[in-house]
Symmetry: C2
Subunit: 349 residues, 2 copies
């Protein structure tokens, strides 16, 4: 059995190699054209970095389906299951562009100052430009997804997945906002919310290569399920990391979810176990909270068993996600998708 | 020759009959589902009214192409040129949904209080909800456009038109915002800006039925040109009406473009003819401007010949748009599209 450390190294290497290719493809798909300020703002967050986890899921799923060795086959001319060539990289960039659009608009809605260690787009530019940059990325993602060269019936199905995914992300974000104004939220409600807000884009990332390459419905369904499971596991781990990773490493204030009274699986569990969540941190301003306050809050959540509970749920979901991969040929790329599921819940940031 | 009054009556009747059908279709395509607040906010502006000019262009172009009498054929089961049935109403609603999304986000960017005589969505709800309502309409428009039942190759082309149209609208809005910060803007720059901000959605409305119904490229191109011409004529007339129609009738403060220092063909012309545009209205707050100030400003623009110049340009564009319709069979629906071009520049509001 691989140790978590060895697995993390292998996953980070695999992610890193794909990230470089994705980073090269982004300016090709989204060049800075007139009006330059709009496109610079649209590219700002994409250029600021990011792990490119969703494109990595997409590209690796394609490799597993095509049964080719990882990184052996050009993503721009990738073999479909019927021998037709498709541009898998265009689909990968499209998904990352959607992710970037949602982050830009989310940061406006949450009035967050920092993202990926740099100012949020509405801080670096202004709210107007940030709204418009997000809107531009939105339609560009559709344009880019139309450039895969897949046959029209599969292109239509891919576009349908992309559109319904975006709708569900909006629904999830709306639930997330409405939960902030509510006290009690059930575990089921929370899991539904993160499925829509976060996991559907992982589901799209895992199922789109199957759709574009011409896989059968059972395979598409199973891969979508993998994405839903690991996507939720990822979000739960993200909520844990918000509490446990130092601000410098996180690229934003540690504990900001608590300060902003966001519902997470941790707070949902803690409230059910008698913790006074609203009383954990006094201020509602991330600029005024102290590290000591966050330390005390985390200690209380730990003693209620809430962080352990969240870790356990993430583990269950990741394991279920891995099981769904049995629909794929048993190859190196599939192994990487399994490792990726583990990495998403074991990662330190 | 028809008198402008008779033509206006005929157009308003035709628009009204289609509007009722579009109004019935909107809740079918965009039902209020969970999370209800999000969908209520998404529907708020659509339900507040609107002339449905773009859906009318789309549905009437379909009738002209199919060579059927206006309103004789169900839009939900509309005959394509190859005899296949398509849902033309879905395409019409999709275009109106895009229009509504852009208005919601534009009102946030311009911080406008009123739209269609009711509070803007970000005033009735809040900025967060308005951003998200617009984002939801965005993807819903793509979902709805995928429900026309057109063969996949045509559906892909329609989606391409929709996506590139949205991108160009964003580019146009960005140019519009950047023009506000600039003094001199040339006539060509202004016309390019309104082509992107406004006319491309008319071009999509006129060309989408041709694409979905299976017309040839020449027809698609000519209809797109009709939309670009009448769309620009419409925007120029809109800028004229902002100065000349009483606030109550306009549903917002008359002269608000002047107060907000928006560039219009009128101000571009007036500046070129020595008018001190920045000095026309003292305040930059629409709530503080007086009717007398607007009256004086309009008088100065009139004596510079700027309003007449804008009217002449709108007339030229509308006439050129009508000429492009020669690609269509000579029938009642085509006559209506010609009348519509005239109406767009003759309308009183």
């Amino acid at each position: 059995m691989t140790s978590p450390e060895a697995r993390e190294r292998a996953v980070l290497e695999a992610v890193g190699e794909r990230r470089e290719r994705v980073n090269r493809a982004i300016p090709e798909e989204l060049p800075i054209v007139r009006p330059e300020r709009l496109y610079e703002a649209s590219r700002y967050l994409l250029d600021a970095g990011g792990k490119r986890l969703r494109p990595t899921v997409l590209l690796t799923t394609g490799e597993a389906l095509a049964d080719v060795s990882p990184l052996s086959t050009p993503y721009r001319r990738f073999p479909g299951l019927d021998g037709r060539t498709i541009d898998l990289m265009a689909a990968a960039v499209s998904v990352e562009v959607i992710q970037s659009f949602t982050l830009i608009h989310d940061d406006i809605m949450d009035d967050d100052d920092l993202r990926r260690g740099v100012p949020a787009v509405h801080r670096e530019y202004d709210v107007e430009t940030a709204i418009l940059a997000g809107d531009t990325l939105y339609s560009k993602a559709f344009e880019i997804m139309l450039e895969t060269g897949a046959p029209p019936d599969r292109a239509v199905e891919a576009l349908e997945v992309l559109a319904t995914t975006c709708t569900r992300i909006c629904e999830g974000q709306s639930l997330d906002v409405s939960f902030e104004a509510r006290g009690e939220v059930t575990t089921e409600e929370y899991l539904e919310m993160i499925e829509q807000k976060t996991a559907v884009l992982y589901a799209a990332s895992a199922s789109l290569p199957a759709i574009l390459m011409g896989a059968d419905d059972e395979t598409i369904e199973a891969l979508s399920g993998y994405g839903l499971d690991v996507g939720r596991a990822f979000q739960i781990q993200d909520d844990v990391l918000d509490l446990t990773v130092p601000s410098e490493k996180l690229g934003k204030q540690r504990g900001s979810d608590l300060v902003e009274e966001k519902q997470t699986l941790i707070t949902v569990h803690a409230r059910q176990h008698g913790v006074d969540i609203e009383g954990l941190v006094d201020t509602e301003d991330v600029d005024r909270v102290t590290e000591g306050e966050i330390d005390d809050a985390v200690a209380e959540l730990e003693s209620a068993g809430s962080i352990e509970y969240a870790n356990g749920m993430a583990r269950t979901l990741a394991d279920r996600g891995k099981d769904r991969l049995e629909v794929l040929p048993d190859n190196e790329a599939r192994g990487l998708l399994e490792d990726l599921a583990d990495y998403l819940i074991e990662r330190g940031y």
